[in-house]
Structures are given as C-alpha cells and as structure tokens.
Symmetry: C2
C-alpha cells in the first residue's frame, strides 16, 4: 500500500489539475504529433518581448560589483533601501499618494509573493476574499494556504465591468479582502475610476463600524499594458484600506527573476503595524528577501519598459482574426488576453474543436466562467495571423 505522503488538500488539488496546465500538456502532445510549426498556442502568458536593452549594461556593472564582500549578501527583509526609496518615488505619482515613502513598501518575490504575503498577514482561517469573476485561478491557492476562502462575484456586462453592487451584496462579517486585478487577467478589462471610487467609498463606509476592516487589494502586474488611450486609475489613493501590489515580470520581461512589491497607504491608522507585519511575513514565509540581482536590475530600470507597440500590434492582429472567424468578444484595453464567448456555449467542447485545428486555448471555466475561452495574445504576430484559418474552421 502506498503511504500518505502529502497533505489531503494538496492531493485534492493535484487530482484537479488546472485547465491551463491541461491545455499546456495538450499543446506539448500536439507539437509532438503535428510538428511545432503547425501548433498555435495561446494558452500561456509568458512575455517573450526582450527586456529593455539597458538591462545588459546594468548586469555588466552588477557583475563587477557582485564579487566584493557581501556583494550578493543578505539585506533588510523589506528590500534594498535604495530600491525601496526609488520605487516609492515612482509609486507616489502612479498611485497619487504624494506622501508615500519607502516605509510603506515591501519588495517581494514577484506579485505572487506579494499576494501570499498579504493573505498570510491579514487573514484568519475562514475569512473570505471576494474576487470579480472570471479571475486568475492561482488566487484560490494563495489565500487557501491560510484558510482563506475565495468567493467569486461575476463582473458585469459584455465588457466585464466591475459590478460594485454585486460585490457589496456579497460582503459578510467574514469578508476580509476585496481583490481587484486591473488590467484584468483573463478578460483584458480595465476598471473605470468611477467604479473603483464607488467601491472604495462603500468599503470605507462599511469599515467605519467594523473592528476587522475589509482591505481593497489591487493586483496590478499589467498596469503599463493599457491601449487605445485607456488609463489605469490609481487605487491606493482611493481608500486608507487600499493596498497595491505589482511586479516587473511583464513590464520589464523579468518574470523568471521574481521581483514585485506591495505598498500600503500612509493614510491608514496603524499602517506601521501592517507594513512591519508584511515584512515579517515576507521573511517567515521563506522568501527572506526578494532576489538581490533582480532588485538591483529593476532599480536601474524603473523608468524603462518593454516595447509596448509589439503587444499592441499583436492585440490588433488577434482582434482581426477573431472578428473574421465571427467570434464575439469585448476588445481588451489592457493586459494581453482575449476572453471571447464560444459559439454553442460549451467552452470545453469548443477548445476541442480548436485543438483539431492546432489551436490551444483555455476553457473559461478554468477562470471561473464557462462559455468563454481565454486566449493569450503575447505570442509572435505571425502565429496569430496564421491561426486565422483554424479559428474560422472551428467556428463553422
């Protein structure tokens, strides 16, 4: 008899491999049988646009610096003081919080590390995390480690707008966090300032009588990916109970080096306690500190970003392909995902039909919303263009 080697909830999670994972594996199988050039894989969001050219010079300089004593040694758990100071300055204008300083910032192991750190710090077991749906599936794991319960609340209308009323209707005594992600994965939606402001005002009003306030946590790894003149409104300044996190994985194509951050609002009474607790969680969760080379690199590249025109061209090409196939979708104004409705309504069946054409998509149910598929447009524009026939055939 095989022994019980792993925790029961991990065993459950492994038995229910994510749809992203399943489609990724189906894609690998397809590449083997058909040849890689006949597969159009839109399943994963791995940014392939090179980091800014300046990264090369910065890394050369770091190479000489690394071999002195403590050149790659420990640092304060909250991050390199110089990076935190520069990042605070950067976020002051981005988030419209003019008195934000390094003291409110913790540098983290990517945005994922920031999310896990935040959940560990504020959640008690049984606390609820509200999230507009569809949503990034890993959120469930991130809060589940500490007994948090993810509660999806559908977004509104064909444009996937924030449904403030529905979110507020879902609030209970156990609600601890409202988790926002704009520009959104998987829909590409960018929430409006009016909706965010309405939500923040309602949260502030609710918190007036709550001993355990509701946090408004904004996950913003796609902030710079905004197109068609869209602006991504600041969230941190909207409420003392707002916290914002982000990463450089996409904006600088540094995903493998794992650099993110979380910032709390200096207007929160007791922010010092929250910030110190976040830094402690960042330490005790075993991150200890975000990687030193990545912090130095991001610090030197704070004003840089990858070539966004490449992403925009891909977005337009993908829109043309989907329109030509007759698929209904809301044009994404942010991030690099499309979330079209599927003909017939069965997302898994439609993914099967796409797969027959060599096209890999992820069923919407993998993001909490059946009847749609997610397509990542962060792939070579020729692959997008050459997938047009396949999409048309699958839609027939």
């Amino acid at each position: 008899m095989q022994k019980c080697l792993i925790a029961a909830d991990i065993a459950d999670a492994m038995a229910n491999a994510s749809w992203i994972r399943r489609m990724f594996e189906a894609g690998n199988e397809l590449r083997r049988t058909r040849g890689a050039d006949k597969v159009f894989d839109f399943s994963l969001g791995n940014p392939d646009v090179p980091p800014p050219a300046k990264a090369r010079d910065v890394l050369h300089a770091l190479a000489d610096d690394a071999v002195r004593p403590c050149g790659l040694g420990y640092m304060p758990n909250a991050g390199l003081p110089e990076f935190r100071a520069n990042l605070a300055e950067h976020l002051r204008s981005e988030q419209a919080v003019p008195n934000l300083t390094a003291a409110q910032l913790t540098v983290t192991v990517g945005a994922a590390g920031a999310l896990v750190t935040f959940f560990r710090t504020v959640l008690e077991r049984g606390d609820e995390v509200l999230v507009p749906s569809p949503y990034f599936v890993e959120y469930g794991f991130y809060c589940g480690h500490f007994g948090g319960i993810l509660k999806p609340v559908p977004m509104k209308g064909p444009e996937f707008a924030l449904d403030v009323k529905a979110l507020l209707a879902a609030v209970t005594d156990r609600t601890r966090v409202i988790l926002l992600n704009s520009p959104n994965n998987p829909t590409g939606a960018v929430y409006t300032e009016a909706d965010l402001r309405a939500l923040a005002e309602a949260v502030n009003a609710l918190n007036a009588t709550r001993e355990r306030p509701i946090f408004m946590l904004s996950d913003e790894p796609y902030r710079v990916f905004a197109f068609d003149g869209a602006t991504v409104p600041p969230v941190l300044s909207l409420s003392p109970y707002a916290a914002v996190l982000g990463s450089f994985s996409k904006s600088l194509s540094l995903a493998g080096e794992r650099i993110g951050y979380i910032a709390v609002n200096p207007a929160l009474e007791g922010w010092e306690t929250l910030a110190a607790a976040l830094t402690m969680s960042n330490r005790t969760l075993g991150y200890v500190n975000a990687p030193i080379l990545g912090q130095k690199l991001a610090n030197a590249l704070l004003d840089e970003r990858v070539d966004l025109s490449v992403y925009d061209a891909r977005r337009r090409a993908m829109a043309e392909v989907l329109s030509a196939a007759g698929l209904r979708f809301s044009m994404p104004r942010g991030a690099f995902y499309f979330f079209p409705e599927v003909p017939g309504g069965d997302d898994v069946a439609f993914c099967g039909r796409l797969m027959e054409q060599g096209i890999i998509a992820v069923p919407g149910r993998g993001f909490g919303m059946a009847g749609y598929i997610r397509l990542c447009s962060a792939v070579d524009i020729d692959i997008i263009r050459h997938s047009a026939d396949g999409f048309r055939a699958a839609c027939r």
Copy 2:
C-alpha cells in the same frame, strides 16, 4: 480605536520579537552611541567572504544572454532543467544516492523556501515537527504557517550530539517530520554517521506500520563548513523517508539571491507524487520558481566554494578568545557558530555584561536553550581578536 489589521498569531509573534532581532537592534544603538569601531557584533550570520571570483565572468556572460527574448522569462516551476540535472549529479555523490536524478529535485527560494515548501506539502494542521534543541528559531514560523507544531528535543552532552533515544521517545501519532540540521546552527555540532543511521533505522521501523510516515528532513546549508577533518555524513541515502535541502547562500556567499533546493529519495514508494507536490507548493506559495539569474550563477559555480580557510582561521581565533576568557564551550566542527555556557547560568544577564563591553551575543533561550549564548564567528578576524579584553572583563 485602531482597527485589527493583522492576523492574531502574527500580532503575537511581533510582540515577542526574536532575541536575534533584539540584539541586532541593541547593536545598532551601541554603534550610534559608542562608534562602530568599538562594537564587536557576533549576533548575525551574514557571510561576508566574497563569492568565488568566477562569479564575475559568469555574470558578464549572463548580461549578454539576458536581453534576448525570454532571456529572463518564466521556466518550469521546479527550476532550470540544466541546473537541476547538474545539481542532481552533484548530489548523487554527496548524498550517496547513485540513482538520484533531476526528477527528484525542486529548486527553491533558498533553504528557507525549501523548508516552507516541504512543510506546506506534508503537514496537516496539528502535525508535530521534532527538532533537536537548541535550534534555529525560524523553524517555528516555517511549520506554524500550516498548523505544524515544533517540538524541541534537547541534544545530548557538552558536544550537542544527536539524542536518538530522546527523539524516539518524543514520537507520537501526530509526528510527521524529524528536522535535522548538521552542521548545526547554533551549536556548530556535526552529527555522527552512527547516530544518523540509528535514527534512520528506527524511523524506517516505525514507518512500517504508519499510514502517514515520519519524514527525516535534513537542513544542510552549512554542509561545506566542516573543519578539523570532520565529515558531514549523507542523510538522503539513509532512509526512503529522508529528504535533504540546502542552499548556496553560505557556500557561494549568494545569500541575497535566494537559491536553494530540496531532494527526495528515489527509493521512496510514491516519490513521484511527493516531488510533484513539492513543485506545486513551490508554485502556489508564490515563489513560482527560484530566481533565474541565481540559478544560472549557481549552476556555473557548482564545483566552486568560498575560501573556507578564512572561516577556519576565524573559528580558531574565536576559540582562543573564549578560552582565554575562561568560557566553557565545545569546539564547533562545523558551520560558523559557538555556543558557550555562560558563567552564572543567566544568559540574558551575561549578554548584558557583554554589551557593557561592546560585545553583542544572542542569549541561548533565543534558540530554545537558556544558560548559553550564541556567537557567530563569520566576522572579520580582527574584530574577533579585539574582543578578547571585553570577553575577559565580562567573565570576571
């Protein structure tokens, strides 16, 4: 009224700042008031010996490689395939497991990341983790995140040997992990092969009738720090239920870049499940993957290590200073810590007397054993030598 912003157990932990932290802050205060040159700080283990010189060339090569598409992008969650393969080869001989392959390895965010990942993967709430005492205090946090309960079991005799009998006597139905750390922090002890083998045999016998086996988890960040001809016996090969983890933080002075690993034994029935679950936890805990620059650096430096003769010279100098002061201690054969008994028995009081001399030490109770102090000898040899008068005065 200030709201409740953080989880209750985090608030408790913050109210009880660790002794290491307190002494660190006392040291900063002392530097301010006396001047940095009159302070002898033995409180922290921050390796200050430079990384191997080859690190410079490796980083220069990485700089050119980084700016290609996906040069710093995502990778498999278990780590870079090439690094895993080379690391497996390295561990095959180190751990005497000739059939170890990359499949049994997960690359982690340092040894701390490996510990948290392992605990998340195998513990149910209420499970017990036995640890020889004194011990590294962070262990309590690492397992506590997931409801694990750390149970210290004193080591044996003045040399802090592994007390196999006492460990076995502490086993209950809820024991899930026996956590070993050799060379040891804070004692510098190196466990003998005979003791480790006796423990492994007992664990194997116990596991024959347990549905939920006890793991023997070996935390080995100090493995290469062995002196006076001491050898650090392999642990992974001693039991199918052994797992080993380590890091390059000390051996390559890369502590800030956070590269570690965990390996399971291919002799374990179901190791595939355990290895896959560890990789999944590494992903869902928000590490996602260990930092890419650090992995490439460690991969290129696998056969290198820092200049150990520097550490050995400091160890001998520290032993001379302590002997001259009349302190009783067991000469450490590994790591870079001393754990002397304090005259009079009150470790906190003795740290106060040392502080009057400008010397910062950490009370043994900070490691679960009052009546001793921990001194880190990973500091400049002149600081060690110049502390001699202070130690003598404090012991008078």
